[in-house]
Amino acid sequence: MFKIVRTEELVPTSVFLHEIEAPRVARKAQPGQFLILKATETGERIPLTMADTNPETGTVTVIFMVVGKSTAIFSALKAGETYTDLIGPLGRPTDIEKVGHVVCVGGGTGIAVLHPLARGMKKAGNRVTTILGARSENFLIFREQMVALSDALIAMSDDGSTGRKGFVTDALKEVIATDKPDLVVAVGPVPMMRAVSELTRPEKIHTLVSLNPVMVDGTGMCGCCRVTVGDEIKFACVDGPEFDGHKIDFHGLTQRLNAYKAAEAEAMTAHRCRMEAQAKQLEQQA
């Protein structure tokens, strides 16, 4: 059992932070690595890239958006409650070296994953420009932490409620024109990572993206998370989760991410009905 020591609702009913006791993982984890969480005996194994780790307190931090039944169950857990299973650290750590000017692009909950990478890049002596994107102001998470570790930060939002109105690629285009990066790291929704990679490809700027495909074991045993990179089939769990954005078959990746969409929607509806019925029952009892 893995105890949750702190929870935070970063975006009401949507984006949650959990800090969880896992001393072995906290001691060993490096930026870019992920873990697998399971909340109940009957639950799914959900891979999440770590947003932070603290070897002193023996805790790891993950951030997730409620997108289906499993994440809905996660979001209902309170501090002091437990996950039945936590496996990690998994995947290869990010290659962090001093290359010069690094542009870190984060979208949605990907900003949380970007956080330790950007921090590592800064620590290694790079100049870090950060570009963050979100639907609207309240979805722009981790802004203060990212401001603190970046040399410059540009915020973008779809509706203009924070920063500038527009996409992260609009900002990236300008940065490329005025202050060409040596490396771009992009973490966020697949369409965002794809757009960033397409933008940097003609400029020949090395671009890393962090993938979050469907997984089971996370140790290379099942091949569920396979993705085409260049001419090769790679397993994101052991060969990734980070890959060269210019080599990824984003189309295939998107299709495989939708493998269980119908089943998930069905499970989510059933779960919601059950929760509402339960809430009603509790109300009546009260």
């Binding site: 072995r24 990690g88 074991d217 140790t219 099942c222 495989r256």
Partner: protein, 468 residues
């Protein structure tokens, strides 16, 4: 003398669930002997002075002795005779290829049917679980030595059981959230109920083995850290053959194409067949399973039970060359699995959402024998055919998973990526580290992994008491 008066040919078959019933459920197929049936079968044993059956057993179970105990009604004594050599009799009685081992050597088999040794072993183990007094084997006094066993499959369970009885402290590490390795994720419920695996593991825990799940050695902790920082005196690596092979044909990334490892893990360990569990699985109507081994049979029979309309095994050689046990092929056939022999998939096609819709295969014929001694399959030109397929399960074997070994270069590997270990002792090139099971041999059987575990445990005990 009653024993020899029976017609030796009359082997007592084990009652089974009828094929048309069981293909719709996940309950165990063979139902087990009653005590009467077990005694009748046991009385067929000739009690050979030089028992060939024992020579055929990789862990040398004293077979005539436990069979005699059954004929005498000494069932508690019988299970103890097995336990002296085999800590997992309920598992082995079900999944060992007895026809190639003990039963293959039985003298009765020369003229008729061999004694049903596997069925009798299973009977005693099941009797013990239902009626035994729960007494455990005696342990040697503590030695003060600590052993880490990496992987809780057949070899790891054997090492843990042997060494805890010899007085060492044992920690058993498992990467998954449940112990058992292939016994839990690979072999289906209808062939090996998971309650049995749980019961066998819980005996080890009662003996004092510390079970640590959710821990990937090579990521969370490295082998040298177990030895140098965590204070273990010896490490056994039994991580299995966990690297799925694919066909490397177009369309293999389509939704609905699974490795057998993934399909079976979702179905068995993650219980996709149980509506209480949240595990999704593509519900195949027209299923193709590629391969001819036991894993292919398990996958095909699981797909039937998940509700498939049609399940076809596609195998590029003929029935004779199929590596699966005859019993598994027979069971699959009875349940309605079709066999498309001498066929080989060339291409998988899907719809605009990337979902598998059809497969195109070539027809094969058998040519000259290849390195394995089996006749090589050769394509027949102009005979390709296409069929509907919305679920394809690739069961063409597993390679060696490099996750642990790549993190520990001192453990040397052979060309195929398997650990180079002494076949007699299981010693690797890294001092204090042993290995056994599929990570050494490549994908093999439960009992061979247990045999390797037994040898390694003996060698580790020797080392812990006397030195490398």
């Amino acid at each position: 003398m009653q024993a020899t008066q029976n017609t030796p040919k009359d082997r007592h078959p084990m009652p089974e669930q009828p094929a048309d019933v069981r293909r719709h459920n996940f309950l165990e197929v063979p139902l087990g002997y009653t005590e009467e049936l077990a005694k009748a079968e046991a009385s067929r044993c000739l009690q050979c002075k030089i028992p060939k059956c024992v020579e055929g057993c990789p862990v040398a179970v004293p077979i005539p002795q436990f069979i005699r105990a059954i004929t005498q009604g000494q069932l508690a004594e019988g299970i103890r005779i097995i336990w002296a050599k085999n800590g997992l009799p309920a598992v082995c009685g079900r999944v060992c290829p007895q026809e190639n081992q003990c039963e293959g050597q039985c003298i009765l088999g020369k003229k008729g049917k061999p004694v049903a040794i596997g069925n009798l072993e299973r009977f005693l183990a099941d009797w013990e679980r239902a009626h035994g007094d729960g007494s455990l084997p005696g342990k040697q006094p503590p030695t003060g030595k600590r052993v880490a066993v990496v992987g809780s499959g057949p070899s790891g369970l054997t090492v843990a059981g042997d060494l805890i009885l010899k007085g060492h402290a044992v920690t058993l590490f498992e990467a998954f959230h449940k112990p058992g390795g292939v016994l839990s994720y690979g072999i289906p419920e209808f062939r090996l109920p998971k309650d049995i695996v749980r019961a066998e593991v819980s005996i080890l825990e009662k003996l004092g083995v510390e079970l640590v799940c959710n821990t990937v050695i090579g990521r969370a902790v490295d082998v040298h850290e177990l030895l140098r920082e965590e204070g273990y005196d010896a490490v056994f690596v039994g991580v299995g053959a966990g690297l799925p092979r694919f066909l490397n044909i177009p369309g293999e990334n389509l939704i609905g194409v699974y490795s057998a490892n993934e399909y079976l893990t979702r179905a068995n360990l993650m219980k996709a067949y149980d509506p209480l569990y949240d595990t999704p699985l593509v519900p195949g109507q027209n299923v193709m399973v590629v391969g001819g081994g036991n894993v292919a049979m398990d996958s095909a029979r699981t797909a039937l039970r998940m509700g498939a309309k049609s399940v076809k095994i596609v195998y590029r050689r003929s029935r004779e060359e199929m590596p699966a046990r005859a019993e598994e092929v027979h069971h699959a056939e009875q349940e309605g699995v079709e066999f498309l022999l001498l066929a080989n998939p060339l291409r998988l096609d899907g719809d605009s959402d990337g979902r598998l819709t059809s497969v195109t295969c070539e027809r094969m014929t058998l040519g000259e024998p290849d390195a394995s001694g089996r006749r090589r399959p050769v394509p027949l030109p102009g005979a390709d055919f296409t069929m509907d397929c919305d679920l394809a399960i690739i069961a063409v074997g597993s390679g060696a998973n490099p996750l642990l070994t790549s993190s520990e270069p001192a453990i040397k590997l052979n060309r195929r990526g398997n650990i180079d270990a002494d076949p007699e002792t299981g010693k690797t090139y890294m001092r204090g580290v042993w290995a056994g099971g599929d990570i050494v041999t490549g994908a093999a059987t439960v009992i061979l992994a247990m045999g390797a575990g037994r040898k390694a445990a003996d060698s580790m005990h020797e080392y812990l008491m006397r030195g490398w």
